[in-house]
Amino acid sequence: MNRIGFRPFLNKITGGEELKIVIDSNALIASGDDLHPNYGEITSFIRDLDQRANLTLYTTVTTKAEYLDYQRRRFLTEGLLSLSSLPEISLASNVKAKLSTIKGRKNTREKNEIKRSQGESDDIDSSYFYFRDSEIKEIKKVFRARDVQNEAGWLKICDIFLSRKLMAEEALIDELCTYLSPYKEEQAHIFNNKVDWKNATKISAKSGMGFSDSMILNMVLATKIDYILTLDYDLVYASAVSALSKTVIIPDKRIKQFKQALKKL
């Protein structure tokens, strides 16, 4: 079996050793949003690991892009939803109407997701708390001036609700994570194989997993790194099929949840 829960993994750490772990996008996103149901568990786990071992968290630039895109949607949603509570702001009626419609859609999705998670005893997908990209585009359109040259309104919204936070977020994630690259000289000792991107397609084709996950799994397979930190069933499943030499670290309760589904793997 190539999976292990947080607690048994922590118990294995004797202290002070070099520890290299690859973190995937859903685990990184969970560690960066306190509304995510796994936020407390995953941040405590990384903090404990970091205190006990000399931890290097590796990831890919694709994962970084997924993380920052999630935060972009979050910061813009929070900012746009706060507009109606700011006494200084007097929104045009078309903007007010659009925001209200989209807020209504989001709230309905959110309620349905809460119902689903309760019915299936599953974690809530925190991305439901935020506007979709297509909805942000709809809102952007109503903020735009009729004259395309005058975009001051939307640009100011980005400036005060998004820009500084997203730049700070990137700097902190860059500090936390080391991006895997077969082209970096200082990482040459980590890689034991050439990264062949066609293998990512093979991994995706074999288990049906998404491409961003298959790309990270393919990258890990080309390295000497033994561990992948994830919350994702798909990655656990694909690792059981295509990456048996690697160990997947997942929250303890998910070990039980996945046990039945992965019985014969």
């Binding site: 970091d50 900012g79 702001i89 045009a92 309104g153 100011k156 005060i160 609700f161 902190l172 936390l176």
Partner: protein, 66 residues
């Protein structure tokens, strides 16, 4: 490889970043732009202008060319 700060410190900074809100000055600047745009939009088709362009057809129906 350069040693990073402890995760607990990075996490604290991430949490502070997530909680940060615009300053009063930034909100006032935004209000100036958005509220100004409000005024622009309300002036696009003033009510009097629309009313002056309404034509009464011989059939009794009203129409305009907007």
């Amino acid at each position: 490889m350069k040693k990073r700060r402890p995760y607990s410190e990075i996490l604290k900074d991430l949490e502070e970043n997530h909680k940060s809100v615009p300053t009063q000055k930034e909100i006032e600047e935004l209000a100036e732009i958005i509220n100004e745009k409000n005024d622009d939009q309300s002036e696009e088709f003033p009510i009097e202008k629309i009313a002056s362009q309404v034509k009464k057809e011989p059939s009794g129906s009203e129409s305009n060319w907007l």
